[in-house]
């Protein structure tokens, strides 16, 4: 099959999906396998991700850009996490344990930290450490601008779960930035 795809590599009409598969399928299997520790299951997840992403690919997307690659990686990550949680209920880090993770000066309020734009990557990492899905769902909502309904379909969740997770992700982000004193008013 790869031979088949390689033959059409220069074909201008090759679909975005084919390009996505050619470029990223190994990385996606790797991402899923890191979570699931099972190559067969990882391949199943990648297949599911392609089925889902097929409906959401804009015709004008640039398949090679990081934003597109990030989207499919996020989808695979989340589907893998869902699968993992189905297989074995995994205790995720409790938001109450944040104190152990956040090393910021507690006197710094979130609005002050928001201005530290150069720390956004660190904030994203901290958020990802709290719960692997939090940074993902913020990216889908605010970077990729999907609606709650679209996110629910992409991640195989109910809309209610999406809203709950978004609320928790936002709260976790605020807590990362400055703790409970974010409610400044």
């Amino acid at each position: 099959m790869l031979a088949f795809l390689s033959v059409i590599e220069n074909d201008v009409v090759r679909s975005h999906l084919e390009e996505l598969y050619l470029l990223y399928h190994k990385e996606l299997v790797h991402v899923a396998n890191k979570i699931l520790k099972d190559y067969h299951e990882a391949e199943d997840i990648v297949q599911t991700a392609f089925i889902k992403v097929a409906d959401y690919l804009d015709e004008n997307i640039d398949v090679k850009c990081n934003k597109t690659k990030g989207l499919i990686v996020i989808i695979v990550r989340n589907l893998s996490i869902n699968q993992y949680n189905k297989r074995k209920r995994r205790a995720t880090a409790n938001i109450d344990d944040l104190a152990d993770i956040i090393c910021d000066d507690s006197a710094i309020t979130p609005e002050i930290n928001v201005l530290r734009l150069d720390q956004s990557e660190e904030v994203a990492r901290l958020l990802d450490n709290i719960n692997e899905g939090y940074a993902d769902i913020l990216a889908l909502k605010y970077l990729y601008e999907y609606t709650d309904k679209e996110i629910a379909e992409i991640l195989s969740m109910s809309e209610g779960s999406v809203r709950t997770k978004l609320t928790r992700a936002r709260q976790a982000c605020k807590d990362v930035l400055g703790g409970e004193r974010y409610e400044y008013a």
Partner: protein, 245 residues
């Protein structure tokens, strides 16, 4: 809460929304960096043949679906812009004859009502003592010749009208067949129309900039082929028809 507090809250919400987007961007950058760092490990991965096979089937299905959507879109475009709609106007009417031999007498009248923007073709069949044959999907004609790269795509049945679609990566050929008596409205505005021979019979070719249509009848069926093809290609397709077994 006074107006100023509300403004502050709103401003803070907007700022946080922008920050969540920034965190999203940072997150994407982080996960892609992680992948880059694991590049060597990733290159060692052997993807199973079953997954590649699955993807090949999946992409094939996606393309078919896309072609089907394009085809339906084309049909919709025609129906609104060029009034290509198919309507069985009359089945047939019976002539009571005193003929000794009970053979079917068919009278075909090509009615060509030239309108400002379309021409209606209708073949009315007069059958002695018999009803008009009913066409169903078990009984249909199909072309044995297709221009290069075209393959069978899908079919639709409406009443006794059967529409077969053939496509390549860019265009679609629509082959329509129905029992005699069907009426076809074909866009003839700014079109060149002429009678052309098709095997032992003849038909009408409507040639337009954006495609050609060939209409003919073979005594018990009306046929129409529409596609973005040279007229001689349409005629070759028409001459290659075979009935399914």
């Amino acid at each position: 809460m006074n107006m100023r507090d509300e403004d502050l809250d709103s401003g803070m919400d907007s700022m946080m929304d922008a920050y969540y987007k920034l965190v999203g961007e940072a997150h994407v950058k982080n996960i892609l960096e992680d992948l880059e760092n694991e590049k060597d490990e990733i290159e060692q991965i052997q993807i199973s043949k079953s997954m590649d096979d699955w993807f090949e089937k999946f992409i094939h299905k996606q393309k078919k679906e896309k072609q089907r959507k394009n085809w339906l879109k084309k049909i919709r475009t025609y129906s609104s812009r060029t009034a290509v709609f198919i309507l069985v106007l009359i089945g047939a009417f019976t002539l009571v004859t005193m003929s000794v031999e009970a053979f079917r007498v068919r009278i075909f009248n090509y009615f060509m009502e030239k309108n400002e923007s379309y021409t209606e073709f209708r073949v009315d069949e007069v059958v002695d003592g018999q009803s008009t044959p009913q066409l169903d999907i078990d009984q249909y004609y199909y072309p044995t010749y297709l221009p290069e790269d075209y393959t069978y795509d899908s079919y639709q049945v409406g009443g006794d009208i059967v529409m077969l679609s053939y496509s390549n990566s860019e265009d679609t050929i629509i082959f329509t067949q129905g029992s005699t008596g069907s009426a076809y409205h074909v866009d003839t505005e700014d079109a060149e129309m002429k009678e052309v021979p098709i095997g032992n019979t003849s038909g009408y070719l409507i040639d337009k900039n954006d495609g050609s249509t060939l209409f003919w009848n073979d005594n018990d069926r009306d046929f129409m082929i529409n596609g973005n093809l040279e007229p001689n290609e349409l005629i070759k397709i028409a001459e290659s028809l075979e009935k399914n077994k």
